[in-house]
């Protein structure tokens, strides 16, 4: 038995075990209990088997509103963020040093803006009575009556997508830009000589070279957009009073923490983790399969 490698790994493993594995195990144990404020006070456990899970799956709200909203939003937001971020990265790659620095700092500001602040700015822009959008549409004669953008689920999520893309694209742009600068210039020049247009060059050379970068960016964005909470909770009606716009994050908060049902919340957290693991696994698998071929 070789002990030395394990001994050397021990500090890291112990740290990971204490900070990551043990809390995960605790969350799973909570998810098997009816765990509320009373259990917190007494410190007693209260196991109910898979009751919380059964209740989650039996909830019609989950299937008709929460999951469609979460998945639909994640698909749209991730594609929009990645496409827009890539376009900005390509713009920056073609700029000189001075302008690249200027554009880079400008998008960093969008990235550095706290989610809460950014969300309020979008809320004000779309405010029904005094917002910029409604005022403009009215003064142009395109709209007679004020329209509340937050009551309709489609317009509500359109605003959330704007907010998330605005906040999320700088990360994609910077990451992809780093990759772009590593693409061999000779290959691009050779392709251009052979008569390949910009779109052909992107899909034949740049995209295959940057595949690992895109996979990281897409996986991370998917995880973030699945878990999005503050940007929806803070929107008018987003905290639960407009049932049509609930997503997984807000729904689990309202159902569990709002009602002191920590076991139920833990069960939702476990399911969300499993769901994200599955998505990531499928994605990584297809990626490696393609590479082998």
């Amino acid at each position: 038995m070789r002990t030395r490698p394990w001994l050397l790994l021990a500090p890291a493993l112990i740290l990971l075990g204490a900070l990551l594995v043990w809390p995960l195990v605790r969350v799973f144990l909570f998810s098997l209990q009816d765990y509320g404020l009373r259990e917190i006070v007494t410190g007693e456990s209260n196991y109910i088997g898979f009751g919380n899970y059964a209740e989650i799956f039996a909830n019609p709200m989950l299937w008709t509103v929460v999951l469609p909203n979460t998945i639909g939003f994640a698909v749209v937001a991730v594609s929009a963020t990645v496409i827009f971020g890539t376009l900005v990265a390509m713009l920056m790659a073609s700029l000189g040093t001075v302008w690249r620095t200027i554009v880079g700092s400008a998008i960093m500001v969008a990235w550095a803006m706290p989610a809460v602040t950014g969300t309020y700015v979008w809320i004000w822009i779309f405010d029904a009575d005094q917002g910029l959008v409604n005022e403009t549409l009215k003064s142009l004669g395109l709209m007679d009556e004020s329209f509340n953008w937050f009551t309709n689920p489609f317009t509500f999520y359109a605003i959330v997508v704007l907010n998330i893309v605005h906040h999320g694209f700088p990360f994609v742009a910077i990451t992809v830009l780093a990759g772009l600068l590593g693409v061999s210039k000779e290959m691009l020049e050779a392709a251009e000589m052979d008569g390949a247009g910009p779109i052909r060059r992107f899909f034949a050379i740049i995209f295959p070279t940057l595949k690992p970068v895109f996979s990281v960016v897409i996986i991370l964005s998917t995880i973030w957009d699945f878990k999005v909470f503050a940007q929806i909770y803070l929107m008018p009606g987003g905290a639960g009073s407009n049932r049509d716009v609930l997503n997984l994050g807000v729904w689990s908060y309202v159902e569990s923490f709002g009602q002191n049902r920590y076991g139920f919340g833990a069960a939702i957290a476990v399911l969300l983790t499993v769901l994200l693991l599955i998505i990531t696994a499928i994605y990584v698998r297809t990626l490696f399969k393609e590479e082998k071929e």
Partner: protein, 424 residues
């Protein structure tokens, strides 16, 4: 080998415990510290107020007062974390809807005996006693209370020759005139994310929010009376157009902001808001009036009595000292000063009497509402769950946005309420 030390260790622990007990039972609390949590923002000058209280407390008991100020927004989370970690303060301000919840969890100590001993049983304001009582015992010491009534712009009413409404029809009549003559104003905003503004209309029409029948809670939101009231309230927006498109997703604070901007003519608002309003918008000085929420045909529509208790936590090691602080805060000079500074009403009847006799036109209607038209929501932690799920808010918002009719929305809300309050 190890076992031989066990009795010694136990003896040592026992001795420590004994000394701890004898320390607590001593007549003087010299050198002790009492930890207290108070919510920030109720009093514009909270810290100065508690500096004075701290000095008086030390003079009276010899103990030091240590006050932590907590934001309302994250107070509930902090309480839960502290309860989980056993680090709760001795005494804390708890919002009236939290007291039953924490008592139900077993985190609070009952204070009924202290109150009786101090001869305060008959002096506490009924509504606050009701919300501070759980399972037959008093857990929350009434500290201060507020109530919502209607505030309106007297300058607009004078200009248009209108009188303050005394029943629901007169609200519609006045708003119709304002709508026609002053199109720049929102006559009566109906906020879609503010449950507390809904209940007066339910009660005013003779309905109930929820009642306990035997062991079972039954929501009254889908009764004919409640539907009548909710239909009237939402009708102000949907039938008459007295509200705005934006108000469909407004919270209570949005009403206040818009009132401060001078774009609202009438609105339901708390007794604690006129002072804040005048501070935000000094040009409204002298243009502000208040009336108790009128009854459907006459009288007053009840509105929710809100406010705060002082609660003693089970973990407190010196409960007598904790009670001394609670009594100092809730009776006598400090209670009166607190009420004067915050615009809330004191939690004892003897002090409330002074407010009742106030000639201030912005105090008297609220005091009237509080004494003659104070309503209480169901006192059970389960109702906290209903509030967290925003059952009532979702009902109002879906009617305002046209997704549901009054009948559909009230039926759904009542079913959900029954489900939460009787289930799990």
């Amino acid at each position: 080998m190890k076992k031989r030390y066990l009795p010694i260790a136990m003896f040592a622990i026992g001795a420590l415990g004994l000394t701890a007990c004898s320390g607590g039972a001593a007549d003087t609390a010299e050198g002790d510290t009492l930890n207290v949590w108070i919510m920030q923002g109720t009093n514009p000058d909270t810290e100065a107020f508690f500096d004075t209280v701290g000095d008086a407390f030390t003079e009276e008991t010899g103990a030091t007062l240590n006050v932590d100020f907590v934001q309302w927004a994250d107070a509930h989370d902090r309480f839960v974390t502290a309860i989980a970690g056993g680090t709760t303060p001795d005494v804390a301000e708890t919002g009236t809807t939290w007291t039953a919840e924490f008592a139900d969890a077993g985190a609070l100590a009952p204070i009924g005996d202290y109150v009786t001993e101090a001869g305060l049983d008959d002096d506490l304001v009924d509504g606050l006693v009701e919300s501070g009582t759980y399972d037959g015992s008093l857990y929350g010491m009434p500290w201060y209370a507020g109530v919502r009534s209607i505030i309106y712009r007297t300058d607009v009413f004078d200009e248009l020759g209108l009188a303050a409404p005394t029943n629901w029809q007169e609200i519609v009549d006045a708003a119709t005139v304002i709508q026609a003559e002053r199109p720049d104003l929102t006559p009566f905003p109906v906020a879609g994310d503010a449950e507390m503004l809904t209940y007066p209309w339910v009660w005013g029409a003779g309905g109930e929010v929820a009642t306990l029948e035997g062991d079972e809670w039954v929501s009254g939101l889908d009764s004919a009376e409640a539907r009548d009231g909710i239909g009237f309230y939402t009708g102000l927006a949907t039938d008459h157009g007295f509200s705005t498109a934006g108000a469909t997703t407004w919270k209570e604070t949005d009403i206040l902001d818009n009132f401060a901007q001078g774009t609202v003519a009438m609105a339901i608002s708390g007794s604690w808001t006129p002072a804040a309003l005048l501070e935000k918008a000094p040009d409204l000085e002298g243009k502000l009036g208040a009336i108790a929420i009128p009854g459907q045909t006459s009288g007053i529509s009840p509105s929710v009595l809100g406010g705060s208790h002082l609660s003693m936590f089970n973990t407190s090691e010196n409960k007598d000292l904790a009670w001394q602080f609670m009594q100092l805060m809730t009776t006598g000079d400090f209670a009166q000063q607190w009420a004067d500074q915050t615009g809330y009403f004191p939690g004892t009847k003897s002090l409330l009497q002074t407010s009742m006799e106030s000639a201030d036109a912005l105090v008297k209607p609220f005091a009237e509402q509080m004494v003659d038209g104070g309503g209480a929501l169901p006192v059970t932690p389960k109702f906290g769950a209903v509030q967290a799920k925003k059952t009532t808010n979702a009902m109002i918002q879906s009617i305002l946005s046209g997704q549901k009719t009054v009948d559909e929305a009230t039926a759904d809300a009542a079913a959900e309420m029954n489900d939460i309050m009787n289930g799990n």
